[in-house]
Structure formats: C-alpha cells, structure tokens
Symmetry: C2
Subunit: 294 residues, 2 copies
Amino acid sequence: MALKIEMLRAFCTVAQTGNLSEAANRLGRTQSAVSMTLKQMEDHLGKRLFEGERKNQLSPLGEQVFELAQKQVRQFDQTLQSIEMAAEAAHGLLRIVSVPSVAALVFPSVLEHMTARHPGLKVELRDTDTQQVLDALAEGKADIGIASGHHPLNGVKAVPLFEDRFGLVCSTDHPLFTREQPPAIADVINACFVRNALCDLIRNERFVEASSTADVTIHNTHSLITMVRTGKWVTVLPQTVARFMPETTAFRPIADLPDKRAVYLYQRERSRFAALTEECCAFIQSCDLSGEPG
Amino acid sequence: MALKIEMLRAFCTVAQTGNLSEAANRLGRTQSAVSMTLKQMEDHLGKRLFEGERKNQLSPLGEQVFELAQKQVRQFDQTLQSIEMAAEAAHGLLRIVSVPSVAALVFPSVLEHMTARHPGLKVELRDTDTQQVLDALAEGKADIGIASGHHPLNGVKAVPLFEDRFGLVCSTDHPLFTREQPPAIADVINACFVRNALCDLIRNERFVEASSTADVTIHNTHSLITMVRTGKWVTVLPQTVARFMPETTAFRPIADLPDKRAVYLYQRERSRFAALTEECCAFIQSCDLSGEPG
DNA sequence: GGCCATGCTTCAATTTTTCTGAAGTTGCTT
DNA sequence: AAGCAACTTCAGAAAAATTGAAGCATGGCC
C-alpha cells in the first residue's frame, strides 16, 4: 500500500519515543496497530527503518526518512490549521507574519486597532526570521509580512516601512558607552564582541571583514541579552531592537558605521478580505516606527 | 471526520477541472466518491467551497483553501518521492540542487565523474532559484547545493566556489558591442534594457538606482534569450550565464560595473553517504568554473 | 410546455483499510 | 528456568471509502 500521512506520523512518533507502547499511547492507538503500520511502511520501502530488535535505534535510512517525514507532518498539520482557521473566520481573517524585533513594536497596536474596528475579526500573528516571513507570503500562508530588505515576490507588493540604524549595544557602564568619543568599528570588534543574526544584514565592507573574525555568534535573543547584561560583552543591533533590551543596556551609534537596515512591509495582492489587508497595511504605515525619537 | 491529504487532493482536482466527472476520471474514482469526499470536506469546515449548483466556481474561501491545499499536496508528493528514492538507493544517493546557470555548467561532468566511480549510485539533480536551493538544504531534501551569495545555514558548510563578473549581454551586431569604447552603466540602461532576476544580485548603488527605472523585467531565461536575439534589447548577466547564450549574442564587461556574483557551494554536514557527498564536493571544487578563459 | 442531456447528490450494499484483543515470539534479567 | 518487557502476528470487528443505481435540479431544444 502507498505511504500515507498517518504512517509518517506514526513512524515519527515511534522514532521520537524509541518505544512502541509510548508512541501508541500518544497516537491514541494500540501497540499492535502501530506495529502493523510500521511494518507496512518498511514493506513498502523494502528496507528496515530501525536497527536491532527494539525500536530505539534508527537505521541510516530511518534517520533520513525521519528528517523528511517530520517536516512533512508538521507542515501538513500547519496547513490544516490554516485551512480550518480560514473557514472559521466568517467576519474576516488577517494573517500577519513579521520578524521578531518589529513584531514586538507593531503587533500590540495593530491588534488593538483592527479588532476594535472589526468585531468578530480573527487575527493570526506570527514571528520568525526574514526567510520564513517571505516563505509564508509566497505560499499564501500570510496576508501581510514585515521583513528586512527588499525582496521582489510574485503577487506581493513591497513598500519601505522604516529604516533603523545599526549601533553598539552594551551595558550602561561599559567604557565604550561612558567615554566621550563615539566608538568606531575597530573599538567594537576589539571589545568582547558577540555576533548575531542581524549582523548579516550589514553590507559595510569594513564591518563585514572585521566581524568575520568574531569568535562568538548567538542567534537566540534572550541569550544575547544575558551576555550583554554581564557588562563584559557587547553586540551590534538596529536601534529599534535595542529598545527592547533591559534598562541596564544602552545603544550608541558607531562613528564609521552609518549602515541602516531597511524594513519593508509586504502586502499580498489577491487575498480574501482584501479590504481588511489594505486597511491594516495603511495603519501599520501610519505608525511611527523610527528608532530615533522626534 | 478529520481532513486527509486525499481529500485535499480531490478538492484540488475538482477546483482545477471545474467538473466532477473529469476530476473523478483523473483521480481514478467514480463521480459519486468524489462528490462525497467534497461533501465531507465542506461539512468539516462548515462552509461551502464552491458557489452555485455546479463545481465550476470556487467561493472566496474555496480560493484560499485551494491555494493552501495545492501547495500541500505537491509538497507531500515530493516528500514521498524523496523517501522512496532514499529507500531505493542502496549503493548511495546524491541529491544536488543548484541555480540553473551553474547547473548547466556543473551537472554533466559531476554526473559522469560520480557514476563512473560508483556503479549503482543514484543521483538526483534539480535546478531552481537560490531561494529554493537553500530551502532544500534546510529541509534535508538535498545534500549539496550551489547558489549565489553566502547564507549561513545550520548544519550546512558553505565554501566560495567561484566569482562571476556581470556584464552586458547583447546581439553581436549591437552598437554597444561593436564600438571600440567599453560601455558604461548609463549606456546600457539607456539602450533597450531588460531587467532579469539575476540583476537583483548586483549591489552597486549606481546600477541599482539606474536599473530601477527599467520598464521590462523578464524572469524566464528562454524569453530573455529571444529578446536579446532580436538585436534590439540588451540585458546584464554574469559571464558564465552568458556562455550559454546562442552564437549571435555576445558578452562585454561594463566599465563602471566591476561587480561579481559570488557563487557558493553548500554541503550538508550530517548526511547518509557522507563520504560520497564529500567526494562530490571535492570534485566540484576541482572543476574550473571561472568565466574568464585562462 | 414537454423531453432530454448534463452535472450533481443520495442511498444501500460492498470492498478496503484500519484497529483491537488475545496469543505468540524474542531476548534480556534475575 | 521463570519472569518480564518489547514487539509481532493473527483473526475478527469496526470504520471508512467506493461503487452502481436511483433521484433531483438546471438548462437547452423542439
């Protein structure tokens, strides 16, 4: 018999638990049902997916299949959720995806503004990296996206939203912040510098070259904050992101790093509830999002 | 009952054909089976997916669901194919994804080299845009990727493969090619200039600004070739891409556009058949891919 | 209007698929 | 060697999918 999504799901659960009865439990089936499903799958592929007598050791093929199957199952579930959400939303549905830094800035007021004006409106907000924001738009999983940089996409309108200067982020008592003279790229890199994902948006040659020697890279924002709070480590971030750092951290422009990140608003052109999308985009653009006060 | 992948598939087929019996035909079922499946789906969602008596007009919700469902079905089928391919490949499997321009350059010799050395080896070659190359790597659907630019990815090693200077591509009898003095950006843009997807890789400010005024953009390579062959239109491409244009077209560097595109080789770190992947990457790197002769 | 064709739905019967509970292996532990 | 835990196998039961026949609208045509 052909492979089915439920077979993949069963396989993934067993691969994760390493144990049939626990997997059967989670799937709400009996052990024997799961056993037979797995057997069907192995028969279909003509190869074993597990090694040894027990189910706690994947074969090399199993490993590979697990990786593919898990992604597929997750995506399938997400699609179903999207479909069901779309069906439930009788009074309108807005699906907004944004990079985390702007999400924190924009989501609260958007949510308030739109729900107040449209009772019964469903809103779906999600934050991920630029990459996945663009994916979601391309795949029709979002109506509005906010991401760094300008990326032309079919059927999606892109407008610049705001710009955001990069600068030094460090503890308020760090020498590079307290001293009078503004810091330069070299000063920052020579301090205990932590690279982060947003640094990759900087095109400035001098910075790119200098930062490539950095030993530490942290992608998780929370860990990054923790590092900077120790007072020893410093990093480079756009100003609006720095806003969300705790009181004891400070932002300061870097003299020879005038680079800004350009944040774009993406708007799906042919969506159901196009009027809502339009209204929401207009509202987002009307917000003052610039990093610099005034 | 819950939504299943076969329901989505049935729905998509009906949405495409606009007609039950034709859809039933394609699905290898009877009309009534498809009708009932659709009914289940509508019952589950609590909304109609089609408007009117016939199945030839999607409702707004139907449109949205169609978009999501079709993507899902396609992806599911592709995953199954990947899984089955992985299972069949007893003697090894290499999955290579590349941007089209480099694919044409690299695939033939890679294929020859690897299959000669490894009888029974399965090789999967695919070409798409940079975006999807990276996706395939991230999702474990490819072992080796070739794409423009450096994009850090978890579990994937990236090494520069070669650089490729951008230049004017036009008919061999175009004034900008036949005249002695090399063309400048302004000359190119002021000719009948056709933008293309690869132009977006150029960071050069002067070019970016100038090209934004271009009226025509063509993404399909074949159409692009046709336009250039007319002798009237010109475009800008990396030199290795220009190699594959017909005899009657020529490549010429642009004086004030020294930009190159950097092509990177991406190698998945933990893959089954890691030794094969390693060997293949070594071979690709050993190829002479530079655009300039000598 | 009456007749017919088309496209779809509904229904009861049938086939296919999936699931279960019980019994049977296997290999490890004591 | 008895006990146990993890898994497989089996036959019957339950659930789901599919079918063919019958039925119901709609719209064209004489």
